[in-house]
């Protein structure tokens, strides 16, 4: 409504006017008000039209079915099913973070899933261009559903490592944990206390951080997970999803 340069412009105008004509400040303020109102009421200047044009022309077409079949471990039929669902929800062919958050929120009606969705989005968006295309989507799914244990654990590590520097620090883990707990929402029994995520992080680090240096590296992570029976078993849980 009132951009910074406009505001300074008005201020300058005001000062000049006052100096020149010696009117009272009140009168000028009223004039300013009128101008402000007019600016607010009038349509926005040209950049908005361009924005709209830009959005409508962004349309992404994925690579051919054969290439995708080669790059991922899905069969042709499975790719077809995946694409149909994908295109239904996002006709333009790409998912931006907002849509992603919306979609994910539908699965967790009781909680606040936008933080975790944000992390997920970054994990899927491997080329970090701010939007998820069908290829990113399908590559991620291929690892999660059809990948080896190593790849899956790698993917999970990548998810936890927020700044992608190869180490999971306690702060990063705490962020992730809080995001997961947020998804539970408020209506839980027993009520989630403030430091539950922190305690959970402590337990996690006790388990994973073998050399007690305060960070978890990829090797420590994979080692520890491979030795944990529960985790191994749960990794196979979703193999029949598609």
């Amino acid at each position: 409504m009132c951009t910074p340069n406009k505001r300074t412009q008005w201020m300058e105008d005001l000062r000049d006017f006052r100096r020149g004509r010696g009117f009272s400040k009140k009168v000028l303020f009223n004039c300013c008000l009128v101008r402000r109102v007019i600016t607010w009421a009038s349509p926005k200047p040209e950049d908005s039209v361009e924005d709209e044009l830009e959005l409508s022309t962004v349309r992404h077409r994925p690579e051919g079915l054969e290439q995708l079949e080669a790059r991922t471990r899905f069969s042709r039929k499975e790719l077809q099913i995946l694409y149909r669902g994908f295109k239904n929800e996002c006709p333009s062919g790409i998912v931006n973070e907002e849509t992603f958050k919306d979609i994910y929120a539908q699965f967790f009606p009781q909680g606040e899933s936008s933080t975790y969705a944000h992390f997920l989005f970054n994990a899927f968006d491997t080329d970090h261009n701010g939007s998820l295309s069908f290829e990113d989507f399908v590559m991620g799914l291929s690892i999660l559903l059809r990948g080896t244990i190593q790849e899956k654990l790698n993917w999970a590590f990548n998810l936890y490592d927020i700044n992608k520097d190869g180490y999971i620090t306690k702060e990063e883990m705490l962020d992730i944990m809080k995001a997961i707990y947020d998804m539970m929402g408020k209506c839980t029994y027993p009520i989630l206390k403030e430091d539950t995520p922190r305690q959970h992080v402590e337990v996690f680090f006790q388990k994973m951080d073998k050399n007690k240096d305060g960070v978890v590296t990829i090797d420590e992570f994979i080692d520890c997970c491979q030795n944990d029976e529960n985790i191994m078993r749960s990794m196979h849980l979703f193999e029949n999803v598609l």
Binding site: K77, I81, L82, R84, G85, F86, N88, E89, I103, Y104, Q106, F107, F108, P109, Q110, L120, A123, F137, G140, L141, L144, L145, K152, L153, W155, A156, L159, Y160, I176, M177, I180, Y181, M183, M184, G185, K186, C187, T188, Y189, P190, I191, L192, K193, T196, Q199, H200, V203, F204, F221, C225, N230, I231, R233, S234, M235, L237, F238, N240, V241, L242
Partner: protein
């Protein structure tokens, strides 16, 4: 779950692998996918026009005809298609609903045929998208009103079992219902006219006595007029009493405008009877007779137009108020100006500012009686400005009032808006309830123990059947996802602080209790594990505790598992005793060792728990036995959202 989003469920489940390294407990077993018929095309033959779609498109909404097994009734073995003998045009909208998740109402379609089709296919009309909902509701309302009007016209035989009182009221309100009512209507109308004319003629001078001045007829024929007046007042009194007797709500009737007019019309007569012919009060008595003119307002019962005029004035109150206010302002300004302008002139009629008010009013309304005129030049100038501005000020609000009148005459807009607001609120409430249904469905499934806790638990066929009956595959997968999340948020296997989804009502209650326990300074730290784990373990093993001694609700205060329950229980739970002295959050669940401390020192605080109407699916008993829950579930749950 929305249509498109259902397709993303595999993605959400795959992403759940991100929780696995963090979880400390084993995850529940995933529901077995049914035989892979997912990629199958279905042919729907609607009156000869063939529609084809994927099977899982239709499966998105399992509580409609096409999404459930009900469509098997329409399966044609020879042609291997589903045949429906319905309108194919409307079916297009219905099928698009499955495809896109939004139901649209085509404008060219008749509202009742559309409604019938929706009812046939088991789709509730609240799901109509916002783009088409207004239109749909408008058409529906118009249709209903038209039908009602038709019915009213045909309504001549009164319902048989109406009491005498109801008959009378109906006769009063609508004179066309019976001959008696019509007679009564005309008789009262006649007497109102007679009374008014009497009042008028009473004051006409009617001939002179030889030695006196002209006397009005009222004083000449006192007896006659008195008799006439008495007769009219009798009739009015009887009418008023009969209306009072017949009114369904006497209090409301007495407050209504018409009854006040009735009372004001007949009261002066009785007051006159009571009062003696005293010198002092006769003046007041004369004034009271003025109120007899209010009898003319009784005609508004007989005239629709008069009622609308009154209603218009009432609804234009703000415009009238504006008119009055601006006029007052202008009068004061101009009166002051004129007074000071005319002060100098001799023999000026403008003796004071209030005296100038009269001049200003007469000039502004362009009446111009001429009894007060300005004589100085300044006075004349300001006088002319006054009359010009008067025209403007009065002319402005008048068109608004006129347009209001015409608007109200054609359409009763205010009542419609209120009705629409109510319907909008009701609609939102219905949508909210059905959204609740999805989360409550999860809780319900959990309670019924449909989830296997340990991975080694192989589902027996009976379990499978139960699974098939109660939830669709989509639902069970979604619930499995939520269950995995629950399992993830466990800090350590030793403590078993298993956070579970609960419904909002229980959360409110336990939250409130936890909050109120902060008041006393001696509330122990809430991190005491024993109490909490005791609760969880208790819950896990579903033990029954001794009920709280002071508990207000009966069995509902008992084990946790019952708390989720019972639509009726919602109300009962709203008075719980909050004890300032209890030691932990779990006191709600009855620590067996301290029944004594929960005594009358506790203040009974009625918690304002928002009773969200849980669908009747919730179990009322703590034990997880499966009732005919699944049958209900299909009816209540709307997974369309």
């Amino acid at each position: 779950m929305a249509a498109g989003v259902a397709a993303w469920l595999p993605f959400a489940r795959a992403a759940a692998i991100g929780w696995m390294p963090v979880a400390n407990l084993p995850m529940p077993v995933a529901p077995a996918g049914k035989n892979k018929r997912q990629d199958e095309m279905i042919i729907l033959n609607v009156s000869g026009r063939r529609f084809e779609t994927w099977r899982n498109t239709l499966d998105r909404y399992p509580d409609t005809l096409l999404g459930s097994s009900e469509k098997e009734f329409f399966y044609n073995e020879e042609t291997k298609e589903y045949f429906f003998d319905r309108d194919p045009d409307v079916f297009r909208s219905v099928l698009n609903f499955y495809r896109t998740g939004k139901l649209h109402y085509p404008r060219y379609e008749c509202i009742s045929s559309y409604d019938e089709e929706l009812a046939f296919f088991g789709i509730i009309s609240e799901i109509i998208g916002d783009c088409c909902y207004e239109e749909y509701k408008d058409r529906k309302r118009e249709n209903a009103e038209r039908l009602m009007d038709d019915q009213e016209d045909n309504k001549d035989a009164k319902p048989p079992n109406m009491t005498c009182r109801e008959t009378m009221w109906r006769a009063f309100e609508n004179p066309h219902t019976s001959t008696m009512a019509l007679v009564f209507y005309y008789v009262t109308g006649f007497f109102i006219a007679v009374s008014v004319i009497t009042n008028v003629v009473e004051t006409v001078p009617c001939g002179t006595s030889p030695n006196q001045k002209e006397v009005p007829c009222g004083e000449r024929y006192t007896v006659a007029f008195f008799c006439m007046d008495t007769a009219c007042v009798m009739i009015f009194t009887v009418e008023y009493l009969m209306r009072l007797f017949a009114a369904p709500s006497r209090y409301r009737f007495m407050r209504s405008v018409m009854s006040i007019i009735d009372v004001v019309a007949i009261l002066p007569y009785y007051i006159g009877l009571v009062m003696t012919d005293n010198e002092d009060v006769s003046g007041a008595f004369v004034t009271l007779r003025v109120f007899r003119v209010f009898r003319i307002f009784k005609f508004s019962r007989h005239s629709q137009g008069l009622r609308i005029l009154g209603y218009t004035l009432k609804s234009c109150a703000s415009e009238l108020g504006f008119l009055l206010f601006s006029l007052t302002m202008a009068i004061i300004i101009f009166a002051t100006v004129m007074f000071y302008a005319e002060k100098g002139s001799s023999s000026s009629k403008f003796t004071s500012i209030p005296a100038s008010f009269w001049y200003t009013i007469v000039t502004m309304t362009t009446l111009g009686y001429g009894d007060m005129v300005p004589k100085t030049i300044a006075g004349k100038i300001f006088g002319s400005i006054c009359s010009l501005s008067g025209v403007l000020v009065i002319a402005l609000p008048v068109p608004v009032i006129v347009s209001n009148f015409s608007r109200i005459y054609h359409q009763n807009q205010r009542a419609d808006k209120r009705r629409a607001q109510k319907m909008q609120k009701a609609r939102l409430a219905r949508i909210r309830i059905s959204k609740q249904g999805t989360s409550n469905a999860f809780l319900h499934s959990k309670r019924n123990g449909l989830f296997s806790e340990a991975p080694e638990f192989t589902s027996s066929t009976e379990e499978d059947q139960r699974l098939n009956k109660s939830t669709s595959l989509l639902e069970s997968q979604h619930h499995h996802l939520l269950h995995c999340l629950e399992k993830t948020t466990v800090t350590s296997p030793l403590n078993y602080i298993n956070h579970e989804f609960v419904d909002q009502q229980y959360y409110q209650q336990s939250y409130l209790e936890a909050g109120l326990q902060n008041y006393p300074s001696r509330s122990p730290s809430l991190s005491s594990r024993d109490g909490v784990s005791g609760t969880c373990c208790t819950r896990r093993s579903k033990k029954q505790h001794a009920p709280l001694q002071n508990a207000s609700g009966p069995a509902h205060m008992q084990p946790l598992t019952q708390v989720h329950a019972h639509p009726r229980g919602l109300q009962e739970l709203s008075t719980i005793h909050i004890q300032p002295l209890s030691t932990s959050r779990s006191s709600l669940n009855m620590r067996v060792d301290e029944p004594a401390s929960l005594n009358c020192q506790s203040s009974q605080i009625t918690t304002a728990i928002i009773s969200i109407p849980t669908p009747p699916v919730t179990t009322s008993d703590g034990d997880a036995h499966l009732r005919a829950g699944p049958a209900h579930q299909n009816v209540v749950k709307v997974s369309a959202l």
